[in-house]
């Protein structure tokens, strides 16, 4: 099938719009999370989301809207744990992730076992995105843009060195919490696109690729968004043509982009 015909389908257009919005959201957040070594938070949140999704399915509400408050609440707990020096945070994050999956499976089983809906969240099915989810993604992206406009240098300072940021008068606690809550919402929306298993890859891979090449922060944000959107477009097209889950195709495209950027960087280093 050629691109023109592919683009003419309404559901493809919807998927591309949603995918692009979510790609930018995860890429921008991802740059901060990757640099702050918090990208594992995305992973545990996505697992916790399974419980929220299952809760939504069992109560017959929109699973995405059900999962968002659940994951946001857990994200505050996860943030506190990763901040506290008393526990090994990566271990604790792993435990929370496992608990989220376990609880989700219990709820799902009680609800009458696995159904197609639950599977679509596990592996992602961007072609089933609905309008309310697109609006949600657009609102989230708007919030992120506002945050970046007003707090751009605060965010950079926090990412660079939290102690410094604090002694420069930045309310690091508040900005961190806002960042974590937005990530929670982003993770849940992104489930629709790539599924629980792969959502953290969307937060990690395009930003990592961008950080190979970028020499300024602004360029890192732009490149990460560009890579992420490219991955989504290639992925959705591939998914449609080869009838493979969109998540798998998108992440494969992302990895390809990452490999290319690493090669480019090495080439540039050698030439220097």
């Amino acid at each position: 099938m050629d691109i023109i015909e592919f683009l003419s389908y309404a559901f493809v257009q919807k998927a591309l719009i949603a995918g692009a919005l979510i790609a930018v959201i995860t890429a921008v957040l991802g740059v901060f999370l990757v640099l702050k070594r918090l990208s594992l938070i995305g992973d545990s949140l996505s697992h916790v989301a399974l419980s929220g999704i299952a809760l939504g399915l069992i109560t017959n509400t929109n699973p995405v809207f059900m999962a968002i408050p659940v994951v946001m609440l857990s994200s505050l707990g996860i943030y506190k744990i990763s901040k506290s020096a008393k526990v090994h945070s990566d271990g604790a994050l792993g435990i929370i992730a496992a608990a989220g999956i376990a609880l989700g499976l219990i709820i799902a089983t009680l609800a009458g076992g696995f159904n197609v809906d639950l599977l679509s969240f596990l592996f992602g099915s961007i072609l089933t995105v609905n309008l309310s989810e697109i609006i949600l993604a657009a609102v989230l992206l708007l919030i992120i843009f506002i945050l970046i406009y007003f707090f751009y240098n605060d965010l950079i300072a926090i990412t660079f060195d939290e102690n410094f940021a604090q002694t420069a008068g930045v309310n690091t606690e508040r900005i961190n919490i806002i960042l974590v809550l937005i990530s929670a919402a982003a993770v849940v929306i992104a489930l629709k696109v790539v599924g629980i298993m792969l959502v953290s890859a969307m937060i990690i891979i395009p930003p990592s690729a961008a950080l190979q090449l970028a020499k300024t922060f602004k360029r890192a944000l732009l490149l990460a968004s560009g890579f992420s959107v490219a991955g989504v477009i290639i992925g959705i097209y591939g998914a449609f043509v080869f009838n493979i889950p969109s998540g798998a195709m998108i992440i494969s495209a992302d990895i390809l982009i990452l490999v290319i950027t690493v090669l480019l960087k090495n080439y540039a280093l050698k030439k220097r």
């Binding site: 990757v34 640099l35 702050k36 070594r37 008393k86 406009y149 007003f150 707090f151 751009y152 240098n153 605060d154 950079i156 300072a157 990412t159 660079f160 060195d161 102690n163 410094f164 940021a165 604090q166 002694t167 420069a168 008068g169 930045v170 990592s208 950080l211 190979q212 970028a214 020499k215 300024t216 922060f217 360029r219 890192a220």
Partner: protein, 272 residues
């Protein structure tokens, strides 16, 4: 003018006491050396002063205000002992130094031409302008240290806190930097707090000492320091060696005929 007032400050990490019942004051124009063995709580003290660690035991006032009400962070320049910015952080040396301007900003926190000019000026002063366009993460340890020093100095702070500023520096840069800090101290009456292990570095600049070993061993003027019983008791046979590095100490007690029994420099003293 009193810059720092500390009263009965104590702090524990978990069960281990790091600081016990510390009290001292720092006035405008003071050049204070903080000394003490590894693990004696020097860095902990600084972090408490800046609100990076919190304790309910004791009182801290900065510029006459309770620490929790203190907002004028542009008055303070701080160089951390150990900062580990993210490896892939896409910031140039210039970007990093300019972040020091953040504490002077009202909403939105955006830098302007004046900030750029100030950044170039201060980087010229700390001898790091030549690599301003290099990525901060690709600089050597000593080069990074100078950029961070530029960041700490950029707002002409009234209080400058340097936690082991000289560890990464070669000996001539060391002298340059202490000479420069001393000049700032004299010209603008900036209060300077320097933590160091090498009294030889700062001996000729300081006029006050704080000696810590979990508790306050000594706090006061350099002249009193030379004669202090606590110091002689604490440093034992090492005392004369220590005093050798204190420029004015060599002359202070015996030149003006005030040398007392038990003075560390007794053997040089014509008075006896």
């Amino acid at each position: 003018m009193t810059i720092i007032e500390v009263e009965n400050l104590s702090f524990t990490y978990g069960a281990e006491a790091a600081l016990k019942n510390i009290s001292f004051t720092v006035n405008a124009g003071d050049f204070t050396g903080i000394l003490g063995p590894n693990g004696s709580g020097k860095t902990t003290l600084i972090k408490l002063l800046l609100g990076l660690l919190k304790t309910n035991c004791g009182n801290i006032k900065l510029f006459g205000k309770d620490l929790k009400d203190f907002k004028d962070w542009y008055k303070i320049g701080y160089l951390e002992q150990k900062s580990t910015p993210p490896k892939l952080m896409p910031l140039t040396a210039f970007d990093v130094a300019r972040l020091g301007r953040l504490s002077t900003k009202k909403m939105p926190h955006i830098f302007n031409e004046q900030d750029n000019t100030l950044t170039s000026e201060i980087m010229r002063l700390t001898n790091c302008l030549e690599y301003k366009d290099k990525l901060f993460s690709e600089l050597s340890g000593g080069q990074q240290q100078r950029v961070l020093l530029a960041r700490a100095l950029i707002n002409k702070p009234q209080l400058l806190i340097l936690d082991e500023p000289s560890t990464a520096l070669d000996s001539s840069s060391k002298d340059n930097i202490f000479e420069m800090v001393s000049q700032i101290n004299k010209e603008t009456n900036t209060a300077v707090l320097v933590i160091t292990h090498d009294i030889a570095d700062i001996g000729k600049y300081v006029n006050k000492f704080i000696i810590l070993d979990k508790k306050l061993i000594f706090s006061g003027n350099k002249e009193d320091f030379c004669r202090s019983q606590e110091i002689t008791a604490y440093f034992g046979p090492y005392t004369p060696h220590l005093m050798d590095h204190l420029h004015s100490c060599r002359s202070c007690p015996f030149a003006d005929g005030h040398c007392e029994e038990g003075c560390c420099k007794e053997e040089h003293c014509g008075h006896h």
